[in-house]
Symmetry: D2
Subunit: 450 residues, 4 copies
């Protein structure tokens, strides 16, 4: 018997392979799904079931692709919006045998209307569930978002309240296997720790400490969440079934000439922010490879033709993996070598870094043509903000930059300087040329003022 | 934060790397311990603590080696027999910080007197333990052996009874992380499933269903266990500290000539049993690579010079890994190519396979010079045996073969034919030449008589 | 600049990736061609050219598949039989630029009419070719077969004579990069060594020592070669373009029940010959994994539904890789666990091994119902044979077994016992039940009689 | 038979594993030499010989370490300075059998007095050498340096002249296997291409076109070469035998606090130059991971305690590999996370990038307190230099920086900006605070002025 977690970095997406007696099931597979087949077959397991906890909004589901590769059946909860084309609907109490395991469906709406959890029973040790795949209902230290139906937000929060009780009713002994870990866009309060049980969450998860339904609803409807535009595309693809990922997740290498003439909609520099800041190709934006999963879906629109700039071919490959998982497939190629580009005579742009002292000096100066622009999210902003700074969330900058004045000077800040550089890169590519970044940002500010 | 299980195949030994905040601990490391350092450093973790749940008897501990590589401290429970040279003694209630984790010592004697479990607390979510490293006290579906102190067997069974209660007192929500999974020589009743919690075990583990202390003791003292002779060596090494494993776990390749002249104490053919049976070099015994962890310690004595015969160089490597983990290091080399040896004129031996019908015929014939020799263990034998068969446990054959008569005919049997072939190989190498193996063995017998 | 050899084990097929200045070419890619794209892109190279030295008869060409993945152009020599659908025809003297490299076409008919070699020049060091891809014209220690046009065999041998001179005219300094190494079905005289030059071959290759055209032709037309039936299929696929390999080259695992009911046309046991001999499922034939490339194309017909039996899932995977490379794709699944099958009550078959003494005894006995059947190839048979033995080449047994009498006794022999067991397995699956194998075979015979 | 090139990136060091008949030899192994044992044993080969072409000055030899691991004998040419402690001396014409291969010693002094080449003969195809390990005598496109004996430079150049003739006398057909490829500090004129033959070099290698001995000597004694100080240490270690590399080539991870208090002699920031330039910890120097092999030996002295700063743990590992290969082992740990350091309040430094226009403006301005400092090597400087710039070779800056004035302003330049940033980092760590880097450097200058 095996139960293996397959983690998708960046998205902090957790999928699972569970097997017994020559059979296996996969829970919430991602798009590049050869890995499940490889693992299962290496263990002598035939994948017969694919369970989706809900229609994912943050990544392309691999369920229809994996089903085509293996002949397995996809199970999905009841969906009021219309059927998931590639799945059979499973209902509360349905039982699915995987060798000596039994997987039992629990309808747990709230995060989405079609959300299900799947409890794990061992028929040889059958007294109560040994674990439960909780999807986006219950995380370690947090619970699922309920902001996807703005008109019905109290209703879905209330549904989630009931669903969480239903999961808790499995008993303290049940290990929880959620669909996301810390770092996901699907919840900001998750614990760093990825292992827990119903019993431990019941005692420690802040959201499960709220006994009163109304208090819970109140808490949920007052949360701040952002919905990157690509969520719409994911929801559509995960209803009709997305296409297979390319076989080779490495972009075609490009020369500088090819990069210049490739006519990409966006040139994305995936190097680390400081490298981008010191020197980058004019017109390129910065999405450091590790920030692609969280931010590419804000800055890149469906179908846009992308060219990448990186420090190494490995970095290009990782970037393409991230992009493909959210259906941003139209990658014409990748270029490595920014300093060589400079040495070939290509003009370069840079964005200076400034420190706390300089920011303080400017704040005191109160020059009318200078703005300290804070790109953190609403929760961070609410916790503490620098007086005199202006706020636009980095993810929304792709639209709200139009409210800014290219003739003015801007210093970008976030919590550390990473997202600030991404934001500065966007502005740099859109005609702003009096930009700098507060390196250290809110962290440095706090350290200097504590 | 990470918690990763490192599984040693064959021994079914489970060790763990747990880390938080740049620090990490390893629980019960095995001898070839580069893997823990590699993993920890790749995750940005410095190994600061090594916890031993008890003095292992079935494998060489990597604790002193890993301590030397990393500067970490080894923690070990109080040992009445004298101190574990390389460890600091930890006592009930001691608390050890690993980033935001707290590891708390629970003295849990029974399997051994020095046995400890280590409970895991998350200081950010501190209400009750989130998990516990249970060592050889509590397994999934079974509890530890208590046969190591034959004079005090009721006493240690009683101690284990208390220790299990102590673990259960951590609460149903605690995930258990035992030192062994199914297939280990440290317990035969373990579940196939490797994930469980205190709560699930409390409800399902047969040994935890025995509420009465005396009944529990009775049950434990009546268990049948075997102690391979190498256990003594492991216990010694794990008191004083074993040496590092060789850097390259692949044996020196040998030609047929080198094999013939290498003067090995044992030539071990690690191919699958059927291949050995059809043709093998005279004098070689059979220990299929997957059976080395369980059986090499019976047939090979400390310090013996070993030569291996295999189907491939990969098989040689896996064999050496298994042997090194139990301190059978004196491997002069490995030879690949049994059919080529035959083609070079080397004489070969074979052991025929026979089926149920032939066994039945011989049983009816009741010939005085023929014996059906059952090499299964006492529990299996007790469950069901073929009338007229004789019993010697395969592990004990290395001594008890002397009671057999090389002038007689023997058919070896076990549950399937695997251990029977190992047993036949031992006899073949010791001058018996009227041997065959009942292919299918007890399994086939039952199928034919059900 | 890189030049990397990608070797396909079993087939001893050699393909090459050569790159310079951001561009790359692949020479004679195999069907599972992700590897070329992975390697090229990791090195920052865009594959722009694919060169085929000729229409391969022994494996599925990856050229059309690789072209579709990369946009590269396929180059192929002039083909009198009609065009290779997916390729552009290249002619003598055509020059192709890959960065600072120049690849120049040399028409070199003989092995096939469309055969080309491709000389490598370095434009920065341009005095004479630095190497040459020789395809199946010139190998290390041998030259290509010329038996594919039985009606025109003198003509093609004469063409090859000229082609070899043309290659030699590149100069002694040119390194040769042939399409096959030792062990290929495309030539039996190849050296073990895989590196050589035109100059070293000119001095040492036995076929290049034959200065006289007529003597060369005579030598070639008198060679013995076998053409497995699958060559026809390869030739067809490599004209029209074969399909991509499956994404996961691991067969679906099967239970014993699934194996029994899967209705396969052939059950192929891929374990080593001795394991098969000691015990195998009735009806299964034996093609040890390493012998699949050379022999599957004899015993398996196009489109047949195959089930595999193996010792491990790794062995299943290797077997599927081999089968897919020669378009034997219809693999319904694989079963691991022959001894467990016996233990479940499944009846088993074995084939005894006998040694030189027993063979001698039987030969002297001259019993009319016993035959010593030698399955080596014609060249081996011609070199030395055991008096009184009968000859059928193992590859031809799939047809010629009909000339044998299932009521008779047969001892199979080859050079060592490997191919003899394959042959015995075929007969065993076709109703012969008085079979044994001469373990050691001709090798042991020679050793005993020298 | 195998011949495999093992390439050490950065050093562009080429070592070889050659094997036949169950035996193998390694030529010029590097310090981390498990790889040779792993490869050999996986191929069924016993390493029996280790050949050193000369006493390496640019890396720690693995010969004594590999000898201890395998029992192989080390062969080394006659050494006038005293014996290589761990080796047996081999002389011109000595023959060494490796299966069917014969390796024949050719004394080829010049690069060093003890230099030998080793010709490869195949006893089955014995007419002339099939290849030759040329060490640092003959490269593809270049020949070895002869600057190690300044008092006897004409003598060694003349010896090399003869040695090259001796190698050429092996015949055009011999493939050459040199000890270095393009990018090595052991020669700047090497071709990008790594495959060649005596015949191709005889026609194309510029140094082999100089027929006249005196002209050759003149050419060699007029070459410019740099000798990093660590060469002395390597020469010593490679006489007496260096120690084994650590088992795990990953540095201990450090927190920012540990980094601050670790009391390292040097803090080396191994990130890419642009990232370092935008923000780095005060006092840290910049040696981008790929530049460590060429430049660490200039800036780091024997035995210095090193701490590393990197973008990722992978980068830390690669850096440690590079450092260990040149005996810079005293690595206390590595820190990842420069932006987080800033966010924790740590003050940061940056070095601005400027472009061609700004450089031109300043040159015209001719301000007395500003210097354009060119850190390229003498050959590059000689080919073309910007008027008004000053020259100090980057490698020599660790001493010559004392000639500069921290009160002045410096713009650093090289060919592209990479080495310029390394140089700027050194000055930044030594109290210069009016620094910038000409991004694009000579390359951009040429592009702007062509």
């Amino acid at each position: 018997m095996i139960l293996e977690k397959i983690k998708t970095p960046g998205l902090s997406h957790l999928s699972y392979l569970i097997g017994s007696g020559g059979q296996a099931a996969v829970i919430d597979p991602r798009r590049d799904c050869d890995i499940y087949v490889e693992k299962a077959r290496s263990e002598g397991l035939r994948i017969t079931h694919i369970f989706e906890t809900h229609r994912n909004e943050d990544l392309v589901s691999g369920a229809p692709i994996l089903a085509a590769m293996t002949g397995a059946e996809v199970l999905h909860g009841p969906n009021a919006d219309g059927d998931v084309v590639y799945a059979r609907t499973t209902h509360d109490g349905d039982s699915h045998k995987i060798g000596q395991l039994e997987i039992r469906t629990l309808e747990t709406p709230g995060h989405t209307f079609d959300h299900c959890a799947y409890a794990i029973f061992d028929s040889e040790y059958p007294d109560k569930a040994v674990g439960v795949f909780t999807g986006d209902a219950l995380f370690v230290g947090d619970v699922g978002r309920t902001d996807f139906y703005p008109d019905r937000k109290r209703e879905v929060a209330s549904l989630l309240y009931d669903s969480l009780r239903k999961i808790c009713d499995l008993g303290d002994q049940a290990i929880i296997y959620p669909a996301h870990g810390a770092g996901s866009v699907c919840g900001s309060g998750m614990a760093e720790r990825e292992f827990s049980t119903v019993g431990h969450e019941r005692r420690n998860n802040p959201l499960l400490q709220i006994a009163d339904r109304e208090a819970f609803i109140e808490r949920k409807v007052n949360e701040n969440h952002y919905q990157p535009p690509y969520f719409r595309l994911m929801e559509h693809l995960n209803l009709v079934g997305g296409e297979s990922a390319p076989r080779v997740l490495k972009p075609q290498p490009m020369s500088l000439g090819e990069l210049s003439s490739c006519d990409a909609d966006k040139v994305i520099d995936v190097r680390e922010p400081l490298a981008y800041a010191a020197g980058h190709l004019p017109g390129s934006i910065n999405l450091p490879v590790g920030m692609i999963p969280a931010f590419a879906g804000w800055f890149v629109a469906e179908g846009e033709k992308l060219a990448l700039v990186a420090s190494s071919h490995d970095q290009l490959s990782s970037s393409m993996e991230h992009l493909v998982r959210i259906a941003l497939d139209n990658i014409v190629g990748g270029y490595v070598g920014v300093v060589p580009a400079a040495a070939s005579g290509k003009s370069m742009r840079s964005i200076p870094m400034i420190g706390t002292e300089e920011v303080e000096r400017r704040l005191q100066e109160k020059s009318g043509d200078w703005t300290l622009l804070d790109v953190r999210d609403a929760d961070e902003r609410q916790a503490q903000a620098i007086e005199g700074s202006r706020h636009i969330y980095v993810g929304e900058l792709h639209e709200k930059w139009k409210d800014l004045d290219p003739g003015q000077r801007y210093t970008l800040m976030c919590a550390s300087g990473m997202r600030a550089t991404v934001a500065a890169g966007w502005l740099d590519a859109h005609g702003f040329d009096q930009l700098d970044v507060y390196l250290g940002s809110m962290g440095a500010w706090k350290a200097a003022h504590s």
